[in-house]
């Protein structure tokens, strides 16, 4: 922690030391605090979506309202021009371990979790943590390590998401009522549907074909599931996505042909049999494709001509070189270009103003809340750091409405550190992810691996159905990048073939090596079985005085495990995979370094992600879907926010993001987070007080 912190404004921060000289900090107006209409913590998709929605909706009010908005980003600014963005692509290409965060360097002051840091805490016989695994940013208390990461940088984790944009299924909103599991949401699919449409059209830009969405639990008719109430835009309510579907990969088509007619049969409790007809379904994605009439794809930030359509760079995770894949920089860029934070020039109409400040670490939510009572947020205190040897500068800003949009885990640690919005005791609890089981094999034929987006299709059959009352649902993602995820291919394939580790003599080289690689690499494929995790209060983010980062911020201390409900689906996913591989003609078990068609799936016990169930070991990876730390609900006793993501305790505070989701379903959560953020944005726009934020004096030293 920096001892010589510089404080530039008053407020409730008097307990911190005030030393050093005031240089380059945020200059408050007239010695007071800067005031905005809205202060948003977090420059990712949720915060950007709220800002854009509020601005656009408030402008339609009568009289129009043009809010002034501040977005505080804890991490570094990234790139708002194509040439600077290219340096991140270069950084990825030069990275030794090409993990999701590899293109985006962390700062010392805003550390970020990294999948390379995942290790297993040592647990005592009584189930308590003996030695936490704290070698990374997270402090892992176990018994299992939380296996996902996120990016702390402007643009957030959309910088390295895959782009999958599946809506939740209707039953995902009523898990308790339908299956006696988890909790119901305070809103239904039908209520969220118009916001899904806006997320797909106005924020992300989604490519898909309604007719190819073969989901269970929608009455067998995708058109009905997608049917829109917006008949002005979609005549007769016949919905279509803004862009045509991304073509399915050659691998998808190969698997579809080979598995045609396959029905997977799985045995449940009490000998009950469940059947799942396998149908391969093209996946909706936030990746530019051929637009439908009236839609304009959004290209790269600062170079709109680039990224108009996916070019097949095969690196959606961790970076799309052309930005054909949506990232939140696109929305932020639109905001700062359209709504610069300055007075209107002569002849200009009044409009909203957006200021984005990176390297500003929110350190406290100032508030008046007393235990078990409602209160008001009175400011956000943040530290502006420079990482140049000078101390961070502290400032407090005030607003009419405050929004936390800093990722589920960061929202939770900030609220816990601030002792805010937690009379329910639920802040930090119900942490969820999609525990992900990988299976992989070598096909008999060249299926063209290592080409195209990371995934273009899935098998939705297991996403809903009566089995959810006894074991968790799962989504099946077909991967287009060979064994890149499970076996670090093509690297390890080359190591295997060249060999010579013990002998110092290359086993294969020259034309023989080249030919053999051509026989193996394009035949590799893998499937990810992404299990729905149920909310458990013991899976939680906490804070601990002993674990702080260099700015003195609390590091996330995480307790994490898989429930019996989740674990019971591990053998199901493994068995479904076995039946599928059998049909593909690769049922035989084979192991590297031998290469012939077969099932290469293996889960060794010495992996940090090993989970044992019923005597069998599995590897359970994280999916990067960090969900559920400030769940929404109607009852303030058992939830943190309401259906609009408004804090029950602090009514001028909205806590947005995946953390609000009460259950996870089997959809990658970003699309749902975006739909919820739009709904929140509408709500804030309708309720903004009519006065305008006090304008600060211009900075003298700016």
């Amino acid at each position: 922690m920096h001892e010589n912190l510089v404080t530039v404004s008053g407020g409730k921060s008097g307990s911190m030391k005030t030393t050093g000289t005031q240089t380059g900090g945020v200059q408050p107006s007239g010695g007071g605090k800067e005031h905005f209409d809205i202060v948003i913590v977090g420059g990712g998709i949720a915060g950007a979506t709220v800002a854009k929605t509020v601005i656009e909706q408030a402008a339609t009010r009568s009289p129009a309202r043009h809010p002034r908005i501040l977005i505080l980003e804890a991490g570094r600014a990234t790139a708002m021009s194509a040439d600077k963005y290219d340096t991140y692509v270069q950084s990825y290409q030069q990275a030794l371990a090409k993990v999701p965060n590899s293109p985006y360097p962390p700062t010392v002051s805003a550390p970020q979790p990294d999948v390379l840091d995942i290790s297993r805490p040592v647990m005592g016989e009584d189930g308590t943590t003996k030695i936490p695994a704290d070698n990374g940013y997270f402090v892992q208390m176990g018994p299992l390590p939380f296996g996902s990461d996120y990016a702390r940088a402007l643009g957030g984790t959309t910088l390295h998401w895959l782009g999958t944009c599946l809506r939740l299924l209707p039953n995902d909103f009523r898990m308790d009522t339908e299956y006696g599991r988890g909790v119901d949401w305070p809103i239904t699919y039908d209520e969220l549907k118009p916001y899904y449409e806006r997320a797909e059209w106005d924020i992300i830009g989604v490519s898909a074909d309604v007719g190819h969405q073969y989901y269970p639990g929608i009455g067998g008719d995708p058109a009905k599931y997608f049917k829109s109430k917006n008949t002005g835009k979609f005549p007769d309510g016949v919905y279509h996505f803004p862009m045509e579907e991304i073509p399915s990969s050659f691998l998808d088509e190969y698997l579809a042909k080979k598995s045609a007619g396959l029905v997977v049969t799985l045995k449940g409790d009490l000998g009950r049999e469940y059947t799942f007809p396998i149908k391969i379904s093209n996946t909706p994605v936030g990746r530019n494709s051929t637009p439908t009439p009236g839609y304009q794809p959004v290209g790269a930030v600062g170079n709109a001509d680039q990224g108009q359509r996916c070019e097949g760079n095969s690196s959606c995770i961790p970076i799309c070189p052309v930005q054909a894949k949506y990232n939140a920089l696109k929305t932020l860029y639109e905001l700062i270009v359209k709504y610069p934070d300055r007075e209107p020039r002569e002849g200009e109409k009044e409009k909203a103003r957006v200021a984005v400040r990176s390297q500003c670490m929110a350190s406290n939510v100032e508030h008046t809340q007393l235990p078990k009572k409602q209160g008001t947020v009175t400011g956000i205190t943040y530290l502006k750091y420079s990482d140049d040897g000078s101390p961070p500068v502290r400032a407090t800003v005030t607003a009419d409405v405050y929004v936390l949009a800093a990722n589920a885990i960061e929202n939770a640690t900030l609220l816990l550190a601030s002792k805010a919005a937690n009379s329910s005791g639920e802040v930090g609890r119900n942490l969820m992810d999609h525990p992900l089981l990988l299976t992989w094999g070598l096909l008999e034929d060249n299926a063209g691996a290592y080409r195209g987006p990371g995934s273009t299709s899935g098998i939705p059959a297991f996403r809903d159905g009566p089995h959810r009352s006894e074991r968790t649902a799962f989504r099946v993602e077909i991967g287009n990048w060979g064994w890149n995820f499970p076996e670090n291919a093509p690297y390890d394939t080359v190591h295997d073939l060249v060999g010579g580790a013990g002998t110092g003599t290359a086993q294969l080289y020259g034309r023989a090596l080249r030919k053999r690689l051509g026989e193996i690499l394009p035949n590799q494929f893998r499937i990810a079985w992404e299990l729905e995790q149920d909310p458990e209060p013991t899976n939680r983010v906490t804070i601990d005085e002993r674990y702080k980062d260099s700015l003195g911020m609390y590091r996330p201390v995480i307790h994490y495990d898989l429930s019996e409900y989740v674990r019971a689906s591990l053998p199901w996913a493994a068995e479904a995979s076995r039946q599928l591989f059998e049909r593909l003609g690769i049922g035989a078990e084979v192991r590297r370094p031998e290469y012939k068609p077969g099932d290469y799936t293996h889960w060794d016990a010495n992996d940090p992600s090993a989970v044992t169930y019923d005597g069998q070991t599995y590897w359970v990876r994280g999916a990067g879907h960090v969900v559920g730390t400030h769940r929404m609900g109607e009852d303030p006793e058992h939830s943190v926010v309401d259906g609009y993501q408004r804090s029950h305790d602090l009514p001028n505070l909205f806590i947005v993001g995946c953390g609000s989701m009460p259950t996870l379903g089997t959809s990658n959560p970003t699309l749902t987070m975006t739909a919820l953020a739009i709904r929140t944005g509408d709500h804030i726009a309708a309720q903004l007080p009519t006065h305008t934020a006090a304008q600060p004096k211009e900075k003298k030293d700016a």
Partner: protein, 162 residues
């Protein structure tokens, strides 16, 4: 065979190229197309030392000459690839061409020949990554570069003829 090519055969970078052709299964034109012959040559000299590289290239030149006369690859195999001295370097060199990364030499090699500061696992350059031969051997393209274009992933795969 022209006289110019014959006279160049003792040029170390020509030897390096001919050796690389035999090790990778890619011909001179394909390797030149990566733009990396000189960079990889420099990398080899830098990472194993100039004296050791000189010995390796000398042995390779002699073996390649013998193989040209005998129309087989026996001399290269027995005198270079299976050599205790050169074998480990050959493995790293193959991987350098295929993956664009340098993989360190084994401790037993370093015990005899010493090691350089750069002899640790690293991506040699972004270009070396992009031009890694493994991608074309797979009928693909480097992840994150040389995008084959819209919808290419739906087309039937094809391997460039070796």
């Amino acid at each position: 065979m022209t006289t110019t090519e014959l006279s160049n055969r003792s040029d170390p970078i020509v030897v390096f190229t001919d050796l690389s052709v035999e090790l990778t299964g890619y011909d001179r034109v394909e390797l030149a197309g990566t733009g990396l012959i000189e960079q990889h040559y420099d990398t080899l000299l830098r990472l194993i030392g100039e004296r050791e590289a000189g010995h390796l290239l000398q042995a390779a030149a002699e073996a390649l000459d013998a193989d040209r006369k005998n129309h087989n690859g026996e001399a290269l195999r027995t005198r270079v690839i299976e050599s205790k001295l050169y074998g480990p370097v050959i493995i790293s060199l193959i991987k350098l061409w295929y993956l664009g990364s340098w993989y360190p030499l084994p401790g037993s090699y370093a015990d005899v020949n010493g090691s350089t500061a750069g002899d640790v696992e690293h991506v040699v350059s972004a270009q070396a990554y992009r031009e890694g031969l493994v991608w074309s051997a797979a009928g693909a393209h480097p992840m994150g570069a040389k995008a084959p274009g819209w919808g290419s992933w739906a087309e039937a795969p094809a391997l460039p003829s070796a």
